[in-house]
Assembly symmetry: C2
DNA sequence: TTGTAGGCGTTATCAC
DNA sequence: GTGATAACGCCTACAA
């Protein structure tokens, strides 16, 4: 059937050991024999069997990505970023999406055993500290994304949701909008919680007198639509609405249009994520840009780092900053974009935040 | 280090054979011992080593996906579709994107040897019949997507670009637009070629007298913008513009707006793909919907089929139909949407088209 | 029912 | 420089 190293050895009249040496360029073989072996191998279209090689080498040259779902811009961009960087490290990518919560994720994690050299895990409701404690294979280098678990063994990389939200509120306030309402995301989502916290902190500091107006959504367009209707039904209409993600902002936009409100004339609007659609709605949506592909790239780099020096339980926390991108939806087109810098916190396990 | 079947065997005071039997549920082991073994395995957090198991089992429970790139809606939706169906077959997904052409793809294909049970290949310029002949591991079940190569060993699955374009032209003509211009895609892209062919055929049949107006683009938004400017610069302005994909249509839309033209009042516009953005531009874009996730699902099903009965060189050609979705950009909102049916051609290797 | 042993395809460690 | 041969972790005859 499929041809093995033995076939090459027989054909080239050498031992399998020599074939291995020649093909792996480890030296210890004459240029002449190496040449001959390479020719035979090429002629026979010999390709080493990955699993067999991994077994003895203890390396798969593959990293795993465990995601809750593959739906939407965020995930595809993230995978793209990871993949791009993985390639440049000479690594392959095994993706696994767990739709059905923690059990599913646990199974996926098990299946990765012996198939990957490291793993990137995007946190999701069921995937918390104790889950990882129980299911993460020991000694497997891993990077946690958008998670508040402080793992002793994994590196953690987060988006700076807090600073991003804060910056956007500052921008809105600077534009003269003090009565800002917030459409928050699902409570069990880490990013959503951070964004809401950022909003609360920013309002407390930047618009101290204003009563907090927060309505709940679930990151979906329709939930944004509903939230906007709820806001519009209130007695005092907000001057600006800040949605915790772009899709909800798009939903708000729809509701505003239906209500005959001009954006930003009658009401300003801002989102979070900067998904491609944000640029194409009318008016173009001001938002907080998350450089998702870069997040993936950084995660991969972090992982590669962990993989290079195994055992070094470099549990570290990193944060990727985000910019605010000003378009038309919150009025007063301005040039600059505030940028949150990327920071890295070293091992300190204290609960500093 | 990582714990193996031997550790479980020792701890449970049985042989490795019994552990294997117990854990794989093959029977031939007392309920009592199985119970004990399972407990020990759970306590030790034993997880079989994938590579080792694959080596003897000859199965990896993994399929590979070879894509030219991971950028854009199309790829992410495709992966999603594949992944979803792969999961339901109990298979994992190894993605590999080859950015640098054929050599890159060849390397990726080699690396998959022994790591996957089957493979889905999305065609790209360098990946043609002879490439596959040379690089596709023999006996590895494979499905080709959007490709015109008639492989003897692989199943082929295509979008019905031809019928989709044809249907859209019919719709435009029915709306009273006879002077339809076409913005085509890159010449080295299979889908692009098919769409142009569909347009030519449709125009010849449905608007016989009209001179053909075709300008070239490359599927990018900016190329669409440029193409529209070129069209507008001509002596007679077209009544409708049909872009070979949505991103180019979006570019056209921008150009029309800048030229002070109302869509669809002054000029109608249609695209192809139905990417999410299509719904959010103003006016919403009429387009030909490609059910990309379904394409991925079907590809996976085809592959699973091939994997089930190995050796059966069931080279077959399948086509996935597409609908036209009518929004506001081409005038006269109508309800229904023409649908191209999904067809399957059996083994016939003749060049029927 | 259970254990022993051989082999999957490769690399690594020895001898020669 | 080259060739046996022992791992790597697992499954599966075959024997007990």
């Amino acid at each position: 059937m499929t041809i093995t190293i033995k076939d090459v050895a027989r054909e080239a009249k050498v031992s399998v050991a020599s074939v291995s040496r020649a093909l792996n360029g480890n030296g210890g073989v004459t240029a002449a024999t190496e040449q001959r072996i390479r020719e035979v191998a090429a002629r026979l279209r010999y390709v080493p069997h990955g699993a067999a090689r991994s077994l003895i080498t203890r390396r798969t040259h593959t990293i795993g990505a465990l995601l809750p779902d593959l739906h939407g811009e965020f995930f595809s961009e993230l995978i793209r970023g990871i993949d791009l960087e993985a390639r440049s490290h000479g690594l392959h990518l095994l993706v696994s999406s767990s739709h059905d919560g923690a059990d599913d994720a646990a199974a996926a994690l098990r299946a990765m055993q012996g198939r990957v050299d490291g793993i990137v895990i995007l946190s999701s409701p069921g995937v918390d500290a104790e889950f990882l404690e129980a299911n993460l294979p020991e000694g497997l280098p891993s990077v946690l994304l958008n998670s508040d678990v402080k793992s002793g063994t994994a590196a953690v990389l987060n988006i700076d949701n807090f600073a991003g939200t804060y910056a956007m509120v500052r921008h809105l306030v600077a534009l003269g909008h003090a009565r800002i309402a917030f459409v928050c995301g699902p409570k069990d989502n880490y990013d959503a919680r951070q964004r809401e916290a950022g909003f609360r902190a920013a309002m407390a500091k930047l618009a101290p007198g204003e009563p907090l107006r927060i309505v709940s959504g679930n990151f979906s367009e329709s939930s944004g639509y509903l939230a906007a209707r709820e806001l519009l039904a209130g007695k005092t209409r907000p001057q600006a609405v800040f949605a915790a993600n772009d899709m909800m902002a798009v939903g708000c936009l729809q509701a505003f249009k239906e209500a005959g409100l001009a954006v930003p004339g009658d009401i300003a609007l801002a989102g979070f994520d900067d998904i491609p659609i944000a640029r194409y709605v009318t008016p173009p949506l001001s938002t907080v840009r998350v450089r998702i592909a870069e997040l993936g790239k950084n995660a991969m780099d972090l992982l590669a780092d962990l993989m290079d020096r195994p055992g070094s339980s470099a549990a570290s926390v990193h944060t990727l900053g985000c910019d605010i991108v000003v378009r038309d939806s919150c009025g007063a087109h301005r040039g600059g974009a505030a940028t949150t810098t990327t920071t890295t916190k070293k091992p300190r396990r204290s609960s500093s935040r």
